[in-house]
C-alpha cells in the first residue's frame, strides 16, 4: 500500500545552520505518528515541509505516492491538510466562512462554492459540535473553540493526511483532550493518516500509534509508544531524568522528583 507520506533523506539548511539533516520518515494510511523532541529539534520545520510549506534542499517527500515537487498548490492541498501552531485569526470572519476556506482546493480558483462544499462544511461543523457557533466571529471564540474551527477547516479539505503542529498549545487540559480526541475519532472513521508534533509526552503516547524522536535535525528513534517512552530515551534527548509509570496500560511520563536537574 502507498504510504500517506514518505520522507527520505530530507535536508533543510538556513545559511550554515542545518535544520533537518537527512530525515527518514513515513506514515501509513490511517496511521497516527507523533513527532516528539526537544525545542529546536526541527519538528515544526519537518511538518511544514511535509505540508509543502517549506522548500527543502535535498531529499524527497511523497504524498500518497506523488512527489511534492511539481505538485500544484491545489493538488497538494488535496493530499495534505495542515493545522499551524499559531493560526492567523481573521477579524470579522464567521466560523462558517472560515471553515469554508478549507474547500478552496476543491474547485478551480475563480469558481464559487458548490452545494457540495456547503454540505461538507455543514457535516464537519456538526461532527465537531461547532454548528451552534457557525455565525459567530472566529475572533470571538475561546481558545478551545477556535482550535476546533481550525481543525474543522483542515478536515473539510478531505485530504488523506492531516498534519498538526502543536495542536494543544495554549489549551487547558480538557480542551487538549477534546482536540486530540476529535482528531482520533476522525482518523478512525475516515482512515486519515495523522502527523502531529506534541510537547506533552504522556498525551503523545496516549494518542499515537508510533512515536518518532527528532533531535538535532535527525530522527534518532522511532517505534511503538512502549519502545520510545523509556527513561533512557527521554534522558538521552531531553536531558531530563523521568519515571515512566504505567496507569491502566497507559504510560505516564513524570519528571523524577528525587533527581534535581
Amino acid at each position: 500500500m502507498t504510504a500517506a507520506c514518505e520522507v527520505s533523506n530530507l535536508r533543510i539548511a538556513v545559511g550554515d545552520k542545518s535544520l533537518l539533516a537527512g530525515v527518514e520518515f513515513s506514515v501509513e494510511p490511517g496511521e497516527w505518528v507523533t513527532v516528539i523532541g526537544p525545542n529546536g529539534a526541527g519538528k515544526t520545520t519537518l511538518v511544514q515541509a511535509i505540508a509543502g510549506l517549506r522548500k527543502f534542499d535535498s531529499g524527497s517527500i511523497q504524498l500518497s505516492g506523488r512527489s511534492l515537487h511539481g505538485l500544484s498548490d491545489r493538488s497538494r492541498a488535496g493530499l495534505v491538510a495542515f493545522v499551524p501552531q499559531t493560526p492567523v485569526v481573521p477579524e470579522g470572519m464567521s466560523v462558517y466562512d472560515y471553515v469554508l476556506l478549507g474547500r478552496v482546493a476543491h474547485r478551480s480558483l475563480l469558481r464559487a462554492e458548490t452545494p457540495m462544499d456547503h454540505s461538507v462544511v455543514g457535516e464537519v461543523l456538526s461532527r465537531l459540535d461547532l454548528h451552534e457557533l457557525a455565525d459567530r466571529g472566529v475572533q470571538t471564540l475561546s481558545g478551545g473553540e477556535r482550535q476546533m474551527a481550525v481543525i474543522a477547516r483542515a478536515l473539510v479539505q478531505e485530504s488523506p493526511l492531516l498534519v498538526l503542529d502543536e495542536p494543544t498549545t495554549g489549551l487547558d487540559l480538557r480542551h487538549q483532550l477534546e482536540v486530540l480526541e476529535v482528531v482520533a475519532q476522525e482518523r478512525r472513521s475516515r482512515r486519515i493518516a495523522v502527523v502531529a508534533t506534541l510537547h506533552d509526552l504522556t498525551l503523545a503516547g496516549r494518542f499515537a500509534d508510533r512515536l518518532c524522536v527528532l533531535d538535532g535535525g535527525r530522527v534518532v528513534a522511532s517505534g511503538s509508544v512502549a519502545e520510545i517512552l523509556t527513561p533512557e530515551t527521554i534522558r538521552a534527548h531531553y536531558g531530563v531524568v523521568v519515571r515512566v509509570v504505567d496507569v491502566d496500560g497507559i504510560p505516564v511520563v513524570v519528571p523524577d522528583p528525587r533527581t534535581p536537574r
Partner: protein
C-alpha cells in the same frame, strides 16, 4: 444536520448592490444637474427619454450643451476614476492584509507625478502638454510599480518587503520630480495643478483612452475577491489551503496598479478615495472582499462625482482641487461610519 443551509456571510446581497447602484445613479444625476446653471433633473430625464424615443422633451440647446458636452464627460470620468481607485485600494488592502494600504502604496503617485512633470517641463516646455501628460503619467506610474516589484525581489518576498520597497522607490522618484519641477519656474503651477488632481480635463476621447485599462483592472480585482478572502488567513495558511499565493499576489497587484495608473493619468493624484471608500464599505457590510470590492466600485464612483460637484460649486467661479474635497468630505463620513459601527457593536 448534514447539508444544512449555507450560512456564508460573504455572498453579495442584492439589497446592498441595489443601494450602491442607486447611490452612484443619484450622484450622477446631481453631477449633471448642479452647477453655475442649475438644470432640473426632471428636465435631464425627460431629455434622455426624448433621445431614446420614448416620449419626453429635449432640453434647450444651451442646456443640452452644458449637460452633455460639459458635465457628462466629467461625471463619467468621475465615476470611472472613483470606482477604479476604490476597487484598487480595496484590492491592495486585501493583498497586503494592511488597512493602511492605498492604490499609491507601491509608488504609482510618485511615478505618475514624475512622468507628468517630465511631460510638462521637457515636452511641453513648461506648459501643459495635452494628450502627452496623461500618457507619461500612466507610464510613470506603471514603471514605478515595476521598479518596486524588482527592488523587492519580484514578489518572492513577503508583502512587508514590497511595502518598504514602495516607500524607497516613491521617495527617490519624488525627489527627482521635485528637482525637475524646480528647474522650470514656468512649469511649477502646471505641475502643482496636475498633482492636486482634477476632473476638469475630462473629454470623451480621454475617457475612451483609459476605459479599457480600468475595465480590465476592475474585472480582474473583483474576480480575485474570493482569493483575497482566503489570503486573510495569511500567506502560510492560504498556501496550505491550496492558494498559489505568489501568483495571486502578482495578478492582483498588477491589475490594481494598472487601474490606479489609468485613473491617475486621467485625473491626477486624487487621494483618499482608495482608502476611505473600501473601509467605509467594510464597516457597513463586513470583511468579505466579495462584498467590499463590488460595493466599493459603485461607492467610489458616486463618492468622487459628489466630491467633484462640491469642488466646482463650493466657491463661485473657482475650482477647489478635488483632492481637498475628497479629504474634507471623506474623513467626517469615515469617522461617522466608524462611530455608528462601534455603537452598534456594544
Amino acid at each position: 444536520m448534514p447539508g444544512a443551509r449555507p450560512r456564508s456571510s460573504s455572498t453579495l446581497k442584492v439589497r446592498y448592490l441595489v443601494v450602491a447602484v442607486l447611490f452612484a445613479l443619484v450622484a450622477s444625476a446631481v453631477g449633471l444637474s448642479v452647477g453655475p446653471v442649475h438644470i432640473p433633473i426632471t428636465g435631464i430625464v425627460s431629455d434622455i427619454a426624448w433621445r431614446l424615443g420614448i416620449g419626453g422633451h429635449p432640453l434647450g440647446p444651451v442646456d443640452s450643451v452644458i449637460v452633455w458636452t460639459l458635465r457628462a464627460p466629467r461625471v463619467v470620468l468621475g465615476l470611472l476614476v472613483g470606482g477604479t481607485l476604490a476597487v484598487a485600494g480595496g484590492a491592495y488592502q486585501g493583498v497586503f492584509r494592511n488597512p493602511l494600504a492605498d492604490p499609491y502604496l507601491l509608488g504609482i503617485a510618485a511615478g505618475a507625478g514624475l512622468g507628468a512633470t517630465f511631460a510638462i517641463v521637457v515636452i511641453g516646455g513648461g506648459a501643459d502638454a495635452p494628450g502627452v501628460t496623461p500618457l507619461f503619467a500612466f507610464a510613470g506610474g506603471l514603471c514605478a510599480v515595476a521598479l518596486t516589484w524588482i527592488v523587492a525581489g519580484r514578489g518572492a518576498t513577503g508583502p512587508t518587503t514590497l511595502i518598504l520597497a514602495g516607500v524607497a522607490v516613491a521617495s527617490v522618484l519624488a525627489a527627482i520630480q521635485t528637482l525637475l519641477q524646480q528647474s522650470s519656474s514656468l512649469a511649477v503651477s502646471h505641475v502643482y495643478y496636475w498633482l492636486l488632481g482634477s476632473l476638469a480635463g475630462a473629454t470623451w476621447g480621454g475617457i475612451l483612452g483609459v476605459l479599457p485599462y480600468m475595465a480590465v483592472s476592475v474585472v480582474v480585482c473583483i474576480a480575485c475577491a474570493r482569493l483575497l478572502d482566503v489570503l486573510s488567513v495569511g500567506e502560510l495558511e492560504s498556501a496550505s489551503l491550496g492558494l498559489p499565493v505568489v501568483v495571486v499576489r502578482t495578478v492582483v497587484i498588477a491589475a490594481a496598479s494598472l487601474g490606479a495608473a489609468a485613473a491617475v493619468s486621467a485625473a491626477g493624484l486624487i487621494g483618499f478615495v482608495g482608502i476611505v471608500v473600501p473601509h467605509a464599505v467594510r464597516l457597513m457590510v463586513g470583511v468579505s472582499y466579495r462584498r467590499i470590492l463590488v460595493l466599493s466600485l459603485f461607492g467610489g464612483a458616486g463618492f468622487l462625482v459628489l466630491a467633484d460637484v462640491l469642488a466646482r460649486t463650493i466657491i463661485t467661479d473657482v475650482e477647489v482641487p478635488i483632492g481637498v474635497v475628497t479629504a474634507i468630505l471623506g474623513v467626517p463620513f469615515f469617522v461617522l461610519v466608524l462611530h455608528v459601527r462601534r455603537l452598534r457593536l456594544r
